[in-house]
């Protein structure tokens, strides 16, 4: 009885078009946001640095890819490289103008990634589906080659790696070795919340509808006046922007420095799996996907040994590692069989059932 549509009448189109049409949803979201900020103060370093920050970074990258693949229907395998463009341009900007607030540079670095993404999106006018995926693979390999071969990108650093110089926001260090995980977490969380909000505005408005139209039936979309090239390129640009910001956050607020190989093809696949399992064309699905693929293994690593303690058994660390892979793999298959449209669809079905619970109709 906690979740009911009854009695919440919409008298204007404005209120009818709200993201969360139900009071319960709005309360739920507020609770989650407050709890997320609360965790910054009660969470351990391990929780913040090794679980929540990476989860948020992956969620952001998954939102980026979801905009492109889930909403606009353009398959891409260049996510890792676009994240790299964000990270490398953020590094260049940060070191060239050390006095400017680092958060501004993180947000600006996404623009470089957006430009590169739009450039590599050009083939999408002519090719679709798997063939487009292969074309974006070119972006992946070419950009990764640039990261290795162009020493200018790392300021002729002998190690060839990105490092995180000390940068502060309101004189609190957020980037660099002395930054606390609490400060990093709050910055990442705030950026992810803000960018998710903007993405949700975008996908629910005219532009989002045009993306979905191009995805569902591009011929019919063109027929009603949607220019296919511009619409697809915009999707590539916005998507790469999100990936770029996620890449910058990944290197400077999570890893604290990285080499070119974190932006390899595996990263692209990793994000793609999150999007598919979370739910194509769903923002909340991006979070679910990131949680399942990133947090689940960590959780299993903690839970499995704990489960065996009462039986007086103990298993080696490497066996746990193997079990983790097996269980996560099985779960992925399980969820895909139960709901091929991803966890987001399960969530939606659950909410609809709850609306009428305890009666089936």
């Amino acid at each position: 009885m906690l979740y009911r549509e009854a009695g919440q009448f919409k008298t204007t189109y404005f209120s009818d078009m709200a993201v969360f049409r139900l009071r319960e949803d709005r309360t739920g979201l507020a609770v989650v946001v407050v709890a997320a900020y609360g965790l910054a103060f009660v969470g351990t370093d391990f929780l913040l640095q090794a679980v929540l920050i990476p989860f948020l970074v992956f969620s952001l990258a998954a939102i980026g890819l979801n905009i492109l693949t889930g909403y606009a229907g353009q398959l891409s395998l260049g996510t890792g490289a676009f994240m790299g463009v964000g990270a490398y341009s953020c590094y260049k900007l940060m070191t060239a103008f050390p006095d400017v607030n680092v958060i501004i540079w993180i947000l600006v670095s996404g623009l470089f990634s957006a430009a590169v993404g739009a450039l590599f999106g050009l083939p999408s006018l002519r090719i679709k589906g798997f063939y487009l995926a292969v074309a974006t693979l070119a972006a992946q390999f070419f950009l990764q080659w640039c990261f290795i071969r162009v020493p200018w990108l790392v300021n002729y650093n002998v190690s060839g790696a990105l490092d995180a110089p000390l940068r502060t926001v309101f004189s609190i260090p957020v980037v660099g070795a002395t930054a606390t995980s609490q400060a990093r977490y709050i910055v990442v969380l705030t950026l992810v919340i803000a960018l998710t909000w903007l993405a949700s505005n975008l996908v629910r408005g005219r532009i989002g509808r045009m993306w979905i139209a191009v995805r569902d039936m591009d011929l019919a979309a063109e027929l009603i006046g949607i220019r296919p090239l511009q619409t697809k390129l915009l999707a590539f640009a916005v998507s790469s922007y999100y990936c770029g910001v996620a890449g910058a956050l990944m290197v400077f607020l999570w890893y604290g420095g990285a080499e070119y190989d974190v932006f390899n093809i595996n990263q692209s696949f990793f994000i793609l799996f999150m999007v598919i399992i979370g739910g194509l064309g769903s923002l909340i699905g991006s979070f679910f996907g990131a949680a399942l693929i990133f947090i689940m293994p960590i959780l299993l690593g903690i839970i499995l040994p704990a489960l065996l303690v009462p039986f007086g058994l103990s298993i080696g660390a490497e066996t746990i590692e193997h079990l983790r892979f097996m269980i996560v793999g099985a779960l992925i298959i399980f969820f895909l069989i139960v709901e091929p449209h991803g966890l987001a669809r399960l969530w939606q079905i659950g909410k609809q059932k709850l609306l009428v619970w305890p009666f089936p109709y």
Binding site: T12, Y13, F14, D16, M17, L198, N201, L202, R204, G205, R206, I207, R209, M210, I212, A213, D216, M217, L219, A220, A221, E222, L223, I224, G225, I226, R227, P228, L234, G281
Partner: protein, 266 residues
């Protein structure tokens, strides 16, 4: 069923003229030297046996195909190679023989997409969903709700169209085309696969669209009773050539048309 022609209807006003249009795919001649015109405010039917080139003709008009020969003049302007989205901007809307809706979207969103061309708020307002973006969203939502009321489909407003029965999908597709407020509405077999009741509804909508909004309609249809009742003038195609053109009565009594439909004794 159909009220008599309004006397004040402007009959000399040509909206679209097709002149000597030919269309070839390699050795296959889909259309050969077809000419006809569509006048402002009329309902023009294009009929013919299967494979006569009716859909190819519509595809030429709205830019999916480019005629190999001949020209198409729309609103007094000659057009060469025109992409469908340019035709849409010019005021040509279209429905398909086998429904081409955006399956995962709701009825509401499908019709809202039809308004895309009319929406102007820039990217950054869209990003914030504030100011012009939300005002425009609300304003267009009102128009869309009017269309939904007009087509009598308010009960399926939030249903993803992929789940709707065929007859309703056709109606939503008409709604999407209407949302564009077109000058010329091309309907490719709007009543294919419908039962009698649905056909009557659809016929009523077409007449109302034509008379209330003054939209010019060009339609392809196989059901002769519908064509004869609805249309002001009929053009008949066979094997890519025009064999007759005129009022339903003229066409009905044309010997070549009867031959084309009933076959000729050899």
């Amino acid at each position: 069923m159909r009220p008599p022609l309004q006397p004040n209807r402007d009959t000399d006003n040509t909206l679209l003229a097709v002149e000597n249009v030919s269309l070839r795919f390699g050795g296959v001649k889909a259309l050969t030297g077809v000419s006809f015109d569509i006048r402002k405010g009329e309902i023009r039917a294009i009929i013919g046996p299967n494979g006569a080139g009716k859909t190819s003709m519509l595809n030429c008009i709205n830019g999916f195909y480019h005629p190999t020969d001949g020209r198409i003049i729309f609103k007094g302007e000659m057009r060469r190679k025109m992409r469908p989205h340019v035709a849409a901007r010019g005021g040509i809307a279209r429905t398909f023989q086998n429904v081409a809706l955006f399956k995962s979207m709701s009825t509401l969103d499908n019709i809202m997409v039809g308004r895309s061309l009319k929406m102007k708020a820039g990217f950054f307002w869209q990003l914030l969903r504030y100011g012009p973006a939300i005002e425009e969203e609300v304003a267009h939502r009102k128009v869309v709700e009017d269309i939904i009321d007009f087509l009598q489909i308010p009960h399926i407003r939030r249903t993803p169209v992929g789940r709707l029965p065929y007859g309703l999908q056709k109606r939503v597709e008409l709604g999407r085309a209407l949302a564009m407020e077109p000058d010329l509405l091309l309907l490719d077999e709007p009543m294919a696969g419908m039962n009698l009741e649905e056909k009557e509804d659809m016929a009523r909508f077409i007449i109302e669209v034509n008379q209330q909004f003054g939209t010019t309609v060009a339609l392809i249809e196989h059901d002769m009773s519908v064509v004869m009742d609805l249309s002001d003038r009929v053009v008949v195609l066979e094997y890519g050539r025009k064999i007759a053109d005129g009022t339903p009565e003229q066409v009905k009594s044309d010997a070549r048309v009867i031959d084309a439909y009933l076959g000729v004794a050899h």
